[in-house]
């Protein structure tokens, strides 16, 4: 009689920094349901992975659920897979981080479950051939990856129905392949269709294995919980009766019975959709999204400090590992890097870890502030990093002389105020009327707008409204003995593609305590007048309260509060940004100016159509000017944490 083995792997994960109410909703809709199902079918064999961030959340918030799950492991119903503490994409990390991510996960898991898992769930199944080394170093025996990776190596599909061994530098790990075809039918087709699909791969020898591995949230969260409960009950009760044909096994059980097929070598890979989103290689996300690269390089930068510090408490490393949580570093169809609360949590952890390292190494003992000129983002150009005990401000002269990171380091309020997100072209937005941003949405950028430009032109990227090249121009950078940063660039004002006049822009940046004061000087160096709206651009990321307490995020202008989804245009000299559980942030000019304020929203595709997801609050201070040759326009803008 033909039969086939089946490994049913359920991956429980919510990212570090997830909003508490979302975690709770998913717990109610999905995790409780799955626990109930596991108990009801406790005689069957399930394979489960609980990501490090979720494990920590459940320890804190739902220890009873965890206890029951652990019991199912003890009772032999569940085989657990290890993971990385931060559910990090291992190949993105320095070698020792790869080892420690897994080591710390196992340590945490063993503390609560009392056993060490033998297999590993690879975050987003991002495989690179170097992985056997850190996995073997942690005693990981097997890993689940996708059949697309196998097919890229030129193997036939049949090879995906067996376990194999791969090696790197003499370190070996066994691999199982998650079958894409099965993922597309389970749980979306009827039980009978799923069984037919499985049996079409069964053999008389019965030594093949079909591996299903996907998100727990498919059951109860992505679709109606009532339907999920019905489907699982139908599927599993029938599976019980067909146990002689379809044997639900644990991976170690399969390996004991059938061992591996042989040796295999695999290229880089992930699941089919991920390969599509990343143009075939996960690391491409760091090239597509500057903000992803920013987080990644900040992580490497903080790591440098942690390594140099003579003694770093483990707590700092844990913060650091959790900041490697993958979700905020990439984007497919939903959320990901566009979820500002996830990015926020990454920076929060990195800033906290950085502070501990700085403290331990006496970073400011000789000088404060520390001002560095380094290629922070690995693009071959130098950035200026201003660091003090109170804040970090990072500037990128080569990108229009902008500020791309502003870390508040006050105890309990660690936050990157500049953690705003550019809206990139996304394939699913083609027909939405959405114009992607043509520059990175950060602060201190100068625009010389066409006089007809409106707030909507600016925030929605109407083409050809900025008549100068200054927004993207490379700026020179120098530091005065008084620690003032001066950036200058000579650009042009154009009309219909013709240069009208040369314009010199100077930005003098002074940082005192929690305030960053920037004096802009715009000077017409040509011989023709220029009529323009000078735009001084800021984008800010008010801190989100991830536990859902307090008032909504918004801003106060001329004594009135507006939530962050409001636009505002008018005359004022001050905007105060309000966020729950966080000090106010104030943007001021010395006298009344025109202010445009708008939500910086990305569009997300949902079942109910496109929906805005906030990426920050945008402010443009406008001066309508006719700059005669030699005219000089000066404006000082102060950004301050109260």
């Amino acid at each position: 009689m033909a039969s086939v083995n089946f490994i049913f792997t359920i991956h429980f994960h919510q990212p570090h920094g997830q909003l508490k109410w979302i975690n709770e909703r998913i717990y109610e809709n999905s995790y409780k349901l799955l626990l109930e199902i596991f108990k009801k079918y406790a005689d069957l064999h399930f394979t489960v992975h609980i990501s490090g961030p979720l494990l920590l959340y459940m320890i804190e918030n739902h220890p009873d659920w965890l206890e029951e799950i652990a019991k199912l492991g003890d009772y032999g119903t569940i085989e657990f897979l290890a993971g990385s503490l931060g559910e990090a994409i291992l190949p993105l990390l320095p070698y020792s981080d790869r080892v420690n991510q897994v080591r710390e996960y196992i340590r945490l898991f063993e503390k609560y479950f009392g056993v060490k898992p033998r297999g590993l769930w690879l975050p987003e199944r991002v495989w690179e051939p170097s992985l056997p080394v850190p996995l073997a170093e942690n005693g990981i025996e097997y890993v689940l990856i996708d059949d697309s990776t196998l097919l890229r190596a030129g193997h036939p599909q049949e090879d995906a129905y067996y376990a194999w061994i791969t090696e790197e530098g003499g370190e070996r790990v066994k691999v199982f392949f998650i079958e894409a075809g099965l993922r597309y039918v389970l749980p979306w087709s009827s039980s009978e269709e799923v069984f037919n699909y499985m049996m079409s791969r069964a053999t008389d020898k019965g030594d093949r294995v079909l591996v299903w591995g996907s998100d727990a949230e498919k059951f109860g969260e992505w679709a109606d919980p009532g339907w999920a409960r019905w489907w699982l009950n139908d599927f599993l009760s029938k599976l019980r009766l067909r146990r002689n044909e379809i044997r639900l096994v644990h991976p170690t059980e399969y390996l004991r019975e059938h061992s591996v097929r042989g040796l295999i070598y695999l290229p880089t890979g992930s699941y089919d959709k991920m390969l599509e989103w990343s143009n075939g290689f996960f690391r491409n996300f760091q090239l597509k999204y500057k903000e992803s690269n920013n987080m990644h390089k900040k992580m490497l930068y903080v790591r440098g400090k942690l390594v140099k510090a003579p003694r770093v408490p483990r707590e700092a490393w844990i913060l650091y590992y959790l900041a490697q949580c993958n979700d905020a570093y990439w984007h497919g169809l939903f959320g990901g890097i566009y979820l500002s609360h996830l990015r926020q949590a990454i920076y929060e952890n990195l800033i906290k870890a950085e502070k501990i390292a700085e403290e331990e190494m006496g970073y400011y003992e000789k000088h404060e502030p520390v001002i560095k000129r380094v290629d922070f983002d690995y693009d071959g150009k130098m950035e200026i990093l201003y660091e003090s005990k109170k804040l970090n401000a990072y500037f990128k002269p080569s990108d229009g002389g902008t500020m791309f990171e502003l870390d508040i380091k006050r105890d309990g309020y660690e936050h990157n105020l500049q953690d705003t997100m550019t809206r990139y072209p996304e394939p699913y937005l083609h027909d939405s009327g959405f114009n992607p941003d043509w520059y990175r949405r950060v602060s201190l950028r100068i625009h010389l707008w066409d006089p007809s430009t409106t707030l909507h032109d600016w925030i929605n990227n109407t083409p050809f409204k900025d008549n100068s090249d200054l927004a993207l121009k490379e700026f020179s950078a120098s530091i005065t003995p008084g620690n003032e940063l001066i950036m200058r660039s000579l650009g042009g004002y154009y009309q219909a593609g013709s240069l009208i006049s040369r314009i010199l822009v100077e930005k003098r940046i002074m940082i005192r305590d929690n305030a960053l004061s920037t004096t802009y000087v715009i000077e017409n160096k040509g011989d023709k007048p220029v009529t323009t709206k000078i735009g001084y651009e800021y984008h800010l990321a008010p801190k989100i309260d991830r536990t859902g307490k307090g008032e909504p995020i918004g801003f106060v202008v001329n004594g009135e509060f507006y939530t962050r989804d409001n636009e505002w245009g008018g005359i004022t000299r001050q905007v105060v940004f309000k966020a729950p559980e966080y000090p106010d942030v104030k943007l001021t000019t010395r006298k009344d100016e025109i202010y445009w304020i708008a939500p910086l929203n990305m569009l997300a595709r949902t079942e109910k159509g496109f929906r805005p997801i906030p990426q920050g609050v945008a402010v443009m201070i406008i001066r309508e000017k006719n700059l005669e040759p030699g005219d000089r326009e000066e404006l000082t803008v102060k950004l301050e944490l109260l």
């Binding site: 406790a42 003890d74 009772y75 032999g76 119903t77 059980e253 004991r256």
Partner: protein, 543 residues
């Protein structure tokens, strides 16, 4: 206290499996505690063989023109109440064709016995203790008579091996003369038979547990299986009463001396010279000299299968050639079934033989219908590893005890095992045990890694041939050091071949360790007595 033990078989009437031992032994021990215990069992043709001398007729009942008699059989230490007549007299105990009929009739007769109990001289039971799923309809029948609101009768359901049997509502109601709307008491209070049947989805073991005050099994570990299979709502109603062995070492030794009069005048299995001589004898002589009528194979088809095999060293009719040379001896006993992990052991043999080239592995296995493929694999393996492996299919009385008292290690690679009585037999006879960490074996066998010299063996991951090979090899080498002069060159060589650090450390700190472990094993087996089990049962009854 009057205790009725319901059992589908009994070692004093008809015995098929391990269940037959438990209720009568427990009953005997309960009697020693001053209680009245009866084993209630179907006849299965027993009384016809026995004659009527020892039987006292309690009742004579006519059902559908079939005359049934209920007898009291008081020759065994625990008196038996035997239900006879009609289908109950059929000798096939577990024949699928007759099973439900037997259970139905047995249930009806128990109910009538209870109704007419005053006519029999038997006292009302205080405890009804059912064993395995066959007793579930009987328990229901008894409940309808015995249970009154506020009464203190106890109903205990014991699972020796989980079954997947489903019972129809009719089979537990109308078929046994009960209205499905009769209320009975269970863990969800007073509900009708129909309601409890619905709550159980017809699953016999779950139904038994739902309607009993306590559901017991035979080991703490096996409770986990009960929870998984029967439902988490029952978890707090589960407990266990361990089994015990009836083996007694002096009787075993006397039996061996009786069978092999010239072997040794006196046998002390804890004396190296004695034990080594026994081992040599078993491996080189006894194995090749089984009596004409051994091994006994009851299954006719299996006998035919063996007849056709002549693949050296296996000989026709299940005989075997002895080993060619002596070496460390490991034995395995039990049924020839995948459940017992025979295939896992087969997979581990290559490694074991590589690590311990002179290992001698002797399997004494009872053939089971449906495991022909496994038998074939085993036959092939014996041929491939002819220097190291021997298998006896069927009962070989002459060898069974001898093998136990001459071996060094007993291996029990079971995939699941509610209790694992063989471990007690292996330990009682002074063997180090290498057993799966599962079911009762997780408790009876004390891992040396945790218990040191108080340990009795090593635990292995169930189903893992690599782990099994490693532990078995180390166990054989460890025990073999006991036959060598401590600190001699040969002794060192053996110790250094052991991979397990704990075992090496034990030997370096005490070269007598193998003999201490043999003693610890023996003592551990003595801890499992029916007297203790009865005490535990009484606590549960009082519960």
């Amino acid at each position: 206290m009057n205790i009725w033990l319901l059992s589908f078989e009994s070692t004093y009437t008809v015995k098929v499996g391990g269940l037959a031992e438990v209720p009568p032994r427990l009953g005997e021990a309960l009697k020693k505690h001053g209680h009245n215990a009866y084993v209630l069992t179907p006849n299965h043709g027993f009384t016809e063989k026995l004659g009527r001398d020892h039987l006292e007729e309690l009742l004579s009942i006519n059902i559908n023109n079939v005359n049934h008699k209920v007898y009291l059989y008081d020759k065994p230490p625990t008196p038996h109440i035997i239900f006879t007549g009609g289908i109950l007299d059929h000798p096939e105990v577990y024949s699928p064709t007759h099973m439900m009929d037997k259970i139905r009739t047995w249930s009806i007769l128990v109910r009538i016995l209870l109704e007419k109990i005053n006519e029999t001289g038997i006292e009302w039971p205080d405890v009804i203790h059912g064993n395995d799923w066959h007793s579930v309809p009987v328990i229901i029948a008894a409940k309808t008579i015995l249970e009154k609101p506020g009464d203190k009768k106890k109903f205990i359901y014991q699972i020796h091996l989980l079954s997947r049997t489903l019972l129809e509502l009719d089979q537990i109601s109308t078929d046994i003369g009960l209205d499905p709307h009769i209320p009975i008491r269970g863990i969800y209070g007073w509900k009708t038979i129909r309601e409890y049947h619905e709550l159980s989805n017809g699953y016999a073991d779950r139904l038994g547990a739902l309607i009993s005050d306590k559901t017991v099994t035979v080991s703490k570990e096996y409770i986990k299986e009960l929870v998984k299979r029967l439902g988490w709502d029952l978890e707090k109603y589960f407990d266990y009463i361990p089994n015990a062995t009836t083996w007694k070492l002096p009787e075993i030794i006397n039996s061996v001396i009786r069978i092999y009069p010239g072997i040794l005048r006196e046998i002390n299995i804890f004396k190296p010279n004695n034990r080594r001589s026994l081992r040599t004898y078993t491996e080189l002589k006894a194995l090749g000299n089984m009596p004409q009528d051994e091994p006994v194979i009851t299954d006719r088809e299996f006998r035919e299968f063996l007849k056709r095999i002549s693949l050296d060293p296996l000989m026709p009719d299940g005989k075997t050639k002895p080993f060619m040379a002596e070496g460390p001896l490991v034995i395995m006993t039990g049924r020839l079934a995948r459940q017992k992990g025979v295939h896992v052991l087969l997979k581990s043999i290559e490694d074991v033989v590589f690590n311990v080239p002179n290992a001698r592995i002797l399997l004494l296995l009872l053939p089971v219908w449906g495991e022909r493929r496994l038998a074939r694999e085993l036959v092939e393996a014996v041929s491939l590893y002819r220097e190291n492996l021997r298998v006896i299919f069927g009962k070989a009385k002459s060898l069974f005890y001898l093998a136990h008292i001459s071996s060094d290690v007993m291996v029990i690679p079971s995939l699941y095992e509610p209790f694992g009585l063989v471990a007690l037999e292996g330990m009682l006879t002074g063997n180090m045990i290498v057993a799966s960490r599962i079911g009762g074996l997780a408790e009876t066998v004390k891992d040396i890694h945790t218990y040191g010299l108080d340990g009795t063996g090593l635990h292995v991951e169930p189903g893992d041939p690599v782990d099994l090979a490693a532990k078995l090899s180390d166990a054989l080498l460890f025990m073999e050091t006991g036959y060598y002069e401590p600190w001699s060159k040969e002794w060192y060589r053996l110790v250094e071949r052991i991979n397990d650090k704990t075992l090496r450390k034990l030997l370096y700190s005490n070269p007598e360790a193998p003999w201490i472990i043999r003693k610890s094993s023996h003592n551990r087996a003595l801890e499992y007595t029916w007297e203790k089990s009865a005490r535990k049962a009484l606590m549960i009854y009082a519960g």
